[in-house]
């Protein structure tokens, strides 16, 4: 094969930010598929158009998910990427690695694929980017032997992900890594053999800062919180004040419910616990002095998703507080009820949030046996279009009995 010029992509080797083009070129030195990939990408840059065909169904034995078929739409021109499939490898919770494991990933992927990968895909998987159909099973076998498994794809559970949680964060209100790992192992079948109306995502954030965007990007968002009061270390408050921090201006005045009072004489900070909505602002600004309370757990929220189809939804509250201790029975029981209702009523490509939108929160809550609480809404309905249930009204024939 003659060396192909890539004047457009070359432009993307300039500038201080690490260049994916440089990585592509280095990978191409060892792998012909990457050479074709670069050439096809240069063509996309010239034509302003993608050159991947709509996927075909490929996979590995026993799985219905985890592999995304990908084929060049000019296979004669780019024979080495005629097949260039993706494997999704379920990453360890929190994306912590030791180098032995990571080097092993490299070695395996060097042997079986393009040597290109995403660390990580937006859902959190290790994305192995590009191999041939007949390499899929050997790749899986190697990764499986090394202790890895495929992630989710299609209309099933997608690979759950978690923030670093108690491993490195003082704000984690529950063990995000353990819940993520536990549930991922529990729901292997739901991940690997898609059988639902559409995809379903879990994301686990240890506190309302929500570093894994759980509220925006997961159907069931599990976000750490606490049931009692902020813990304030008055010594450290004094230190902040003495070091010049404007506690009144930067903390109290920005408190959304004005729950904080700073005594500038004594340099003490007070919280009116019943007004605090645990937004993390004071904690974020004064990490040495203010901490979450002690009675910890999570708020469960439902429905988060991106725009397709019926608009983007942010997840909304369905359980204001649930303590989360292994084996997470209460959580798993609720998940089972949610999935059962969705599976029964959801239309094709209807996310759980869209189904609730279509059938109403009342029906959802009755089906999954959750009590309605005002924390579920920003505000109650403005219309009087209430659906009354049969047992709430008097039937004419009963009345005449």
């Amino acid at each position: 094969m003659t060396e192909r010029k890539t004047p457009m992509l070359d432009e993307l080797e300039k500038g201080p930010w690490p260049s994916f083009v440089t990585d592509l070129k280095r990978a191409a030195e060892k792998n012909d598929s990457v050479k074709d990939l670069i050439a096809q990408l240069e063509q996309s840059y010239e034509e302003k158009k993608g050159h991947w065909k709509h996927g075909g169904i490929v996979g590995v034995r026993g799985y219905g998910a985890g592999v995304i078929g990908r084929y060049s739409d000019e296979p004669e021109k780019y024979p080495n990427i005629a097949e260039f499939h993706t494997l999704r490898i379920n990453s360890p919770a929190g994306w912590f690695y030791d180098t032995k494991t990571l080097r092993n990933v490299c070695d395996m992927w060097e042997e079986h694929g393009s040597g290109l990968l995403n660390l990580h895909g937006t859902t959190g998987d290790i994305i192995l980017l590009g191999t041939k159909t007949n390499e899929l099973q050997p790749t899986f076998d190697a990764f499986s032997d090394a202790g890895f498994d495929l992630g989710g794809s299609g209309s099933g559970l997608r690979s759950p992900s978690a923030c670093c949680g108690p491993a490195r964060c003082e704000w984690a209100c529950y063990d995000t890594l353990d819940v993520c790992d536990n549930l991922t192992h529990e729901y292997q079948d739901e991940m690997h053999r898609p059988m639902w109306p559409y995809k379903f995502k879990f994301k686990f954030s240890g506190c309302p800062n929500d570093c894994v965007a759980s509220i925006a990007r997961s159907d069931l968002s599990v976000i750490g919180t606490w049931r009692d009061t902020l813990r304030i270390n008055q010594e450290e408050i004094k230190n902040y004040a003495n070091s010049g921090m404007d506690i009144q201006g930067r903390v109290c005045e920005k408190c959304p419910t004005k729950a904080l009072t700073f005594n500038s004489e004594t340099k003490e900070l007070f919280v009116k616990a019943e007004d605090c909505t645990r937004c993390m602002h004071c904690i974020n600004v004064l990490p040495k002095a203010v901490r979450p309370g002690k009675e910890k757990g999570a708020t469960l929220m439902i429905g988060g998703k991106s725009t397709i189809l019926r608009s983007a939804f942010l997840s909304w509250v369905i359980v204001p507080f649930m303590p989360l201790e292994a084996p997470y029975t209460e959580l798993k029981d609720l998940i089972a009820r949610i999935w059962e209702w969705w599976d029964e009523h959801g239309k094709t490509r209807e996310r759980i949030g869209e189904l609730i939108y279509r059938l109403g929160m009342g029906n959802f809550l009755r089906a999954v046996d959750l009590p309605p609480v005002p924390q579920m809404v920003k505000e109650p309905r403005a219309n009087p279009y209430i659906f009354w249930q049969a047992d709430e009204v008097i039937k004419a024939d009963e009345a005449t009995k």
């Binding site: 180098t99 937006t122 759980s214």
Partner: protein
Amino acid sequence: MSRTDLGPPDYKEMLPPVIKENYGQWLYHEYLKPGVMKHVSEKGDALYTIRIGSPRLVGLDTVRELCDLADKYCDGYLRFTSRHNVELLVSNEANVDPLLAELKQKGMPVGGTGNSISNIVHTQGWIHCHTPATDASGIVKAVMDDLYDYFTHDDLLPARLRVAMACCLNMCGAVHCSDIAILGIHRTPPRIDHTKVSKVCEIPTVIASCPTAAIKPDPKNKSVKVTEEKCMYCGNCYTMCPAMEIMDPLNDGIAILVGGKVSNSRTAPGFSRLAIPFLPNNAPRWPEVTEAVRNIVETWAKDAKKGERMGEWISRIGWERFFDRTGIPFTDKHIDDYIFSIPTFRTTTNFKW
């Protein structure tokens, strides 16, 4: 035969000793300098984290280089973040400065903490997606080159800045709740290959896939037809039916949305909202996009109060001022006309001239 349903590797086995020993016992953290965090536990142990930007799409050489660094300075431990950053986990304080020196020498950007731009969460684009309206990695590279100083410094911006990029209207990734979202968009209805539809597509599914009911059966052609004025080019039909080509090099391009966030800090999470409906797909470096993003960032940086994220700033000054101050024209495109349009309309006389 290989084992199935093994699940992911045990995270506990890959935690550095300092984390195992202080798991759940961290007390506080502080930013020592841009990209360098120190976490201190109740026992007094400390962990230093060095955050490095990465292009996300990497080759094995880069991963092995990261492993080399982790072996040399971090007892072989590192992690990745949800925003495609790499975090080198240093338990020996003495290793911090030498590591930073080596990263500098290698040209690896350290930053993304505090009031800085973090790495751009993004999708595949032309490199590996079948419905992209643009490339993702290329635009991210161009924008991050342009905003590089805002990554490596944490004192140039009023607050943190979260940028995300998705290559089509599906808005994969968290782009819908970002301070700035860069979004590939299609602008023309699908082009139907009637000879293929009946062969490769299930017609009722295709019809049902359209959120605006723009697709109707076309029994004459054993195909479907599209009511063009109802189509808003989401490409959902194409996902269901490859015979409805949605990519259009003449018209695909980029939209910019602003002011979203996911954190609950101070204010509730919210969606990014349309700032610029269309910018051209000028590969390889998308100058119109980098300039537009820089303009928004710098207008915000100049105008916002300390600690105000993009959306909080806009909320304080009002959208009418946002368009004034950025010089971005307001058009009919900005006005929502989808399902939840009504709640976005200005139902008060309280506005600014």
